[in-house]
């Protein structure tokens, strides 16, 4: 097996020549029968637990009453969507959502990659494992805890950060109520809680790189940075792109609980996002249809984004997620 190509292939392989007539297709199907058997349980799962319940989306076109059920509720057409689009704050809420999403993509997304590269460069198994374990820790703290610990640290009423600012002769900063601090607080907390956890996938794919490649590069006199740039990064490009596309798909899912806990009357103009709006307007008042319609709207935006990015990545010669 010496000669087997061991380089991880991120680039797609040329498509196998497709059979044009049905007998060839049949032959191929039969040859790959076990592959079909393998995907069957998964497909069944998605049909039963994901596609079957999707009829629930119908209620976004209804005036759904839980006790009347979907069959008994009245149809209202696009009414809920019209309500959403004519909501005076709609544009503002959509903008807030998109901005937080942008921060997630532009600031948060690269951090786990950089962190993974840094962790990978650590020498000594002990340090490697030790640091890895530490940076994962925050992921296991719920948002309630993260937000309440931040509160204790940044409050103007005796929080250490403000006490330090005063100590060094600065003015106190109103981190919690000043709208311009909401976004930095949000993204810092996201990074703190998730960045370490996010490295796992990258570390796993770095682990799959053939050390022979590094050896060869070293022979050529490439330094650390060069090795990262020419070997590590290209080797994990596939997984970066996949994660990027999937992240784009979650375009409007920014973690309801997190934002809700940070939200207050003073920062609502920048902190109200679609998810928190749904909560106040919808669930809290049992407006099932309206909140489903908003969810539907979010999903469609997500779908459009995923399809475009996926197409783009395929155009650039990458795999894409489907």
């Amino acid at each position: 097996m010496q000669e087997v190509a061991v380089q991880p292939s991120a680039a797609p392989q040329p498509q196998r020549k497709r059979g044009k007539n049905s007998s060839e297709l049949k032959k191929r199907l039969w040859r790959n029968k076990w592959l079909y058997v393998m995907v069957t349980p998964g497909i069944l799962y998605f049909i039963i637990f994901k596609y079957l319940p999707m009829y629930g989306l119908i209620i976004s076109f209804q005036d759904y009453k839980p006790y009347q059920g979907i069959s008994g509720s009245d149809w209202v057409g696009m009414e809920h969507f019209n309500r959403l689009f004519t909501e005076p704050d709609f544009l503002n809420i959509l903008m807030n959502t998109l901005i937080l999403f942008g921060l997630n993509i532009v600031i948060y997304f690269p951090i786990p990659i950089i962190l993974a590269l840094m962790l990978n460069e650590l020498r000594g198994t002990f340090f490697k494992r030790f640091f890895q374990t530490l940076v994962y820790l925050p992921h296991f703290m719920s948002w309630v805890i993260v937000v309440s610990i931040s509160f204790v640290m940044v409050t103007m009423d005796g929080g250490i950060i403000n006490e330090l600012l005063v100590f060094f002769g600065f003015e106190k900063v109103n981190f919690l109520l000043n709208p311009s601090w909401f976004r930095p607080m949000y993204i810092i907390q996201v990074i703190w809680r998730e960045a370490g956890w996010g490295t796992i996938i990258y570390l796993a794919s770095i682990a799959a790189i053939d050390p022979g490649l590094y050896e060869a590069a070293r022979m050529d006199g490439a330094g650390r940075l060069k090795q990262i740039w020419h070997i590590t990064l290209p080797s994990i490009r596939g997984v970066i792109i996949t994660l990027f596309i999937l992240k784009i798909g979650s375009v409007l899912d920014l973690g309801f609980e997190h934002v809700y806990l940070l939200l207050n009357s003073m920062n609502r103009e920048v902190a109200e996002i679609i998810d928190t709006y749904v909560y106040t307007a919808g669930l809290r008042q049992g407006q099932f249809s309206y909140s489903t319609a908003i969810g539907f709207f979010k999903s469609i935006i997500g779908l459009i984004m995923v399809m475009s990015v996926n197409k783009l990545s395929k155009k650039m010669g990458e795999e894409g997620v489907y």
Binding site: A10, W34, Y45, L122, R123, Y136, V144, I201, G238, E319
Partner: protein
């Protein structure tokens, strides 16, 4: 990895180490606060807001949470659900991911798309509840596993890893008379240990964090997993119940108890990690195929 002994290499390593140490410190401080808080008295927690090392040590919080067997029972449920769920999920996910990673599977693009689609569109809580109910899963532990048996995200990631395995290996195995099952279990899985470890960890953590399914599908509070207890205490103790009322007939639990429950509920899942970690570090499985 061979040591890089050049000056540039050393400077690089030193900077890298310092930066990471700093990052580790930032991530660990709040966690230390939680651990310290669980080992001190509620008076100290209230007086000295950001405790890192307790002045007064106390085991009262742990005595309180371990004074009944509720937490052990919940822990048992969580461990069971996590273990069985992870194995089951890994099994079906690997099968599906492998099938979809093979380019000669007709319709794979469509299936992939339909899987991604489920990440974007959800039927909602009530229709899913109805499916679970129709299957007779209400109040059974299976309701914590089956409805979330496959994560589309995990499946796509795993598929991605499988795709990176050179097809030549599979071809030659096929020539040797392996079926697709043989290839998956004898070649692909052993070659993908880092990926398997990663996705297993993801599943384990998801199952460990099971909360909403337990609330919706389990009627018997004796079956609750640890997260329900954890969240109940954290929410009560943080005063963050979304619908606060005048009603304080029941004073919230002490902050120290909140911290102790977080510690107790986090440690088991943290213990999973070192077992999987060696596979991340193992690295270069493909390289080891040589010879």
């Amino acid at each position: 990895m061979v040591e890089d002994k050049s000056i540039g290499g050393r400077v690089f390593a030193a900077i890298n180490f310092t930066l990471l140490a700093l990052i580790a410190l930032i991530t660990v401080l709040p966690f230390m606060h939680v651990v310290a808080g669980s080992f001190t008295t509620s008076a100290e927690m209230a007086a000295n807001k950001f405790v890192l090392i307790p002045k007064v040590w106390s085991l009262d919080a742990y005595k309180f949470i371990f004074s009944t067997n509720t937490i052990f029972k919940a822990m048992g449920v969580s461990i069971g659900v996590t273990a069985i769920g992870t194995v089951f999920s890994m099994f079906v996910t690997s099968l599906m991911a492998y099938g979809l990673s093979r380019r000669d599977l007709d319709g794979r693009t469509l299936i992939n798309f339909l899987v991604v689609f489920t990440m974007l569109f959800h039927g909602g809580m009530i229709p899913t509840f109805l499916v679970v109910k129709e299957l007779g899963l209400i109040d059974s532990y299976a309701s914590l596993i089956l409805p979330s048996a496959i994560s589309a995200f995990n499946m796509i990631i795993l598929k991605n890893f499988f795709q990176n395995i050179p097809e030549g290996l599979e071809e030659s195995a096929k020539i040797d008379g392996c079926t697709d099952f043989g290839i998956l279990f004898r070649i692909v899985l052993p070659l993908s240990l880092p990926a398997i470890a990663t996705i297993s960890l993801f599943y384990a953590v998801t199952y460990w964090n099971t909360y909403m399914s337990a609330i919706l599908y389990l009627d018997d509070s004796a079956k609750w997993p640890i997260q329900v207890l954890l969240r109940q205490i954290v929410v009560l103790a943080s005063g963050m119940d979304y619908s606060s009322t005048l009603d304080a007939a029941v004073p919230p639990p002490d902050q120290t108890i909140k911290m102790a429950v977080i510690v107790v509920a986090t440690i088991p899942i943290l213990l999973v990690y070192p077992f999987l970690q060696k596979h991340f570090a193992k690295g270069a499985m493909l390289g080891s195929m040589k010879g």
